[in-house]
Amino acid sequence: MSLSNTPAHAASGHHLSGRAALGWARENSVYVALAVLVIFNLLVTPGFSNPLAARSLLFEAAPVVLIALGQNLAIATRGIDLSVGSVMALASASIAVFLPYGVGTAIVAAIVIGLLAGIFNGGLVSLLKIDPLISGLALLVAARGLAQALVGGSRVNLPSSDAFDLLGVGALGPVPIVMLISLALALVIALIVRRTTFGRYTILVGASRGAAFLAGIPVRRTLFMVYAASGLLAGLAGVFASARLGAADPNYVGVNFELDSIAASVIGGTPLSGGRISIVGTVFGVLLLEVLDASFIMNNISFTYAQILKAIFIVVALYLQRAGA
């Protein structure tokens, strides 16, 4: 993808520095943007320097990091997983359904249901060869409907218990437990992508499906596992979000999260054209989006402006990627 531009442009030095600057901006835009935004907020936003604000921000970011990880895997295979937000809602509703059998069972059941949704999606994509955009779309609509039907469309408050407290408010110093879990999983996924054959397969399937098939790479199995993993992570994210909320709420949990996860991936440097993955960038992409939200909310500016700005960020990030391709 980025192999094509060396000899032709080496001739003109001026041109090269312009290109290099663009390339640098492209590679590091997420860190630059995050740094600028944080400094701006520290100067302007009242209460932003308060550690409690940072902690609350990290609580919000934890589930988004999880689903962005799954989204990254899907995007790396040149696919997409639109179902993640609704699968979170389904997991959240499952907690309410399985609560009579104990808190531990409910949490495990929610994660398993997320995995099952992922397996279903993976089956559609890999076995039936359905465009992931469409299978995800169908699941996005259907899973939220199922979640709402399961709990009658209303919020179910969770009883206070050690497990929910640990996930909902527990923190190790300034960092929430859920964020630590998310970062640990990010590390695991980064290692899987770099060090295992499955990780290699994921990248190669995205770089060129045809070539991967001819090279004997198990394309179907790889796709299946990618979407199953994304479902599993979305299930866990649903548990995190519900614990934070103190309720199972199929109308609220995970709404628009598929967009946030895609935005974080794109901003973080995972191109939608597949074949590349940037876990660290994505984690920072999530933080950037969360700081963006927070800076609007904390300045009492309508949240909707954040949404407009997010949309502009996505387009700009994509334009930079495209310009470098």
Binding site: L124, D131, I308
Partner: protein
């Protein structure tokens, strides 16, 4: 697509060709058959279902989605995607409410023009800047919803509605105006798609963009126009919805982007581009409306099952299409 020359007239070949033709008909016209089937079965179970009033309700309630589906189908046949339409409907109702004091013409036209311009922007980013349609229109979905909410943080009641609200609520010859508008729009859509150079260009681009370019089709221009048309139709749906509801609602149209894709796909438009009709997607729209109506008729089912049913329907349609397409050897 069927590049076989028919010099070979053995019975086997004839049989094969007949089967291909049947598969092709099922693929493009299946939705109409399913529509009739679902209608008849529902009519047997619920005596009120097939009453003219109920059927008219289904169609007029589906007319907003129906208008969007025309644009969405054109875009998908061209090999693209437009996720911005749902937010554009909401924005359209808001713009319409703002324009209403300047008369009904302004209230009808302003959202259409706004939708057209926004569609052009989508089209330029997709065709000229070569960005993925999916992500451009996704960003537009987010951004436009934001703009609509900024413009109208709460419902904007149209203070002095007058003629404007009659447009979507009145009726001619006993049928709601919305039905007439929908039928007229689909007739125009079918003529544009099947009988004009522009329609042929859409099929050509969806079939093979490079080949279309080599044949002299002005790919970029056609793409920009088509996204513009999709935006304008979403704006029109917004204007009619504002007229129907007598107010501007930023949240209106939420989920229409998905439903419009579902209706197009159920109606036999192939997501890979290059294949599609206008009648099929219309059947898809009415089918989705019927499902909603049936779930309401059952009564004991919570309305949440409607999402489940729409999603399931979309999946079944796509699976059926995938199977049929592989049979056809496309």
């Amino acid at each position: 697509m069927t590049a076989t020359t028919s010099t070979d007239t053995t019975p086997l070949r004839q049989h094969k060709e007949r089967r291909l033709r049947i598969v092709s008909v099922i693929q493009s016209r299946g939705a109409i058959g399913i529509l009739i089937l679902v209608g008849l079965v529902a009519g047997l179970i619920f005596p009120d279902f097939l009453h003219a009033a109920n059927l008219a309700d289904i169609v007029s309630a589906g007319s907003f989605l129906g208008l969007i589906v025309i644009g969405q189908s054109l875009v998908i046949i061209m090999g693209g995607f437009d996720l911005s339409v749902g937010s554009l409907v909401g924005l359209g109702t808001v713009i319409s409410a703002y324009a209403a004091p300047y008369g009904w013409v302004a209230a009808m036209l302003a959202p259409v023009v706004a939708g057209l311009l926004i569609g052009f922007v989508n089209g330029v980013l997709i065709a000229r800047a070569r960005m993925a349609p999916f992500i451009v229109t996704l960003a537009a979905l987010l951004g436009l919803k934001g703009v609509a909410l900024v413009l109208a943080s709460q419902d904007l009641l149209i203070a002095n509605p007058g003629f404007f609200t009659i447009i979507a609520n009145g009726s001619i010859f006993g049928l709601n105006n919305l039905i007439w508008i929908l039928v007229a729009a689909y007739i125009v859509g079918a003529i544009v798609l099947n009988c004009t150079a522009y329609g042929a260009a859409i099929f050509a681009i969806g079939g093979n963009e490079e080949a279309a370019r080599m044949l002299g089709v002005r790919v970029e221009r056609i793409k920009i126009i088509t996204y513009g048309v999709s935006g304008a139709l979403a704006g029109l749906a917004g204007a009619l919805l504002a007229s129907h509801l007598d107010s501007g609602l930023a949240a209106a149209g939420t989920g229409y982007e998905l439903q419009s894709i579902a209706a197009a796909v159920i109606g036999g438009v192939l997501l890979t581009g290059g294949v599609g009709t206008m009648a099929g997607p219309l059947a898809g729209v009415i089918l989705l409306g019927m499902i909603e109506n049936i779930i309401n008729q059952i009564g004991t089912l919570s309305p949440y099952y409607q999402n489940l049913a729409s999603g399931a329907f979309l999946l079944v349609a796509v699976i059926a299409q995938t199977v049929l397409t592989s049979r056809r050897g496309l």
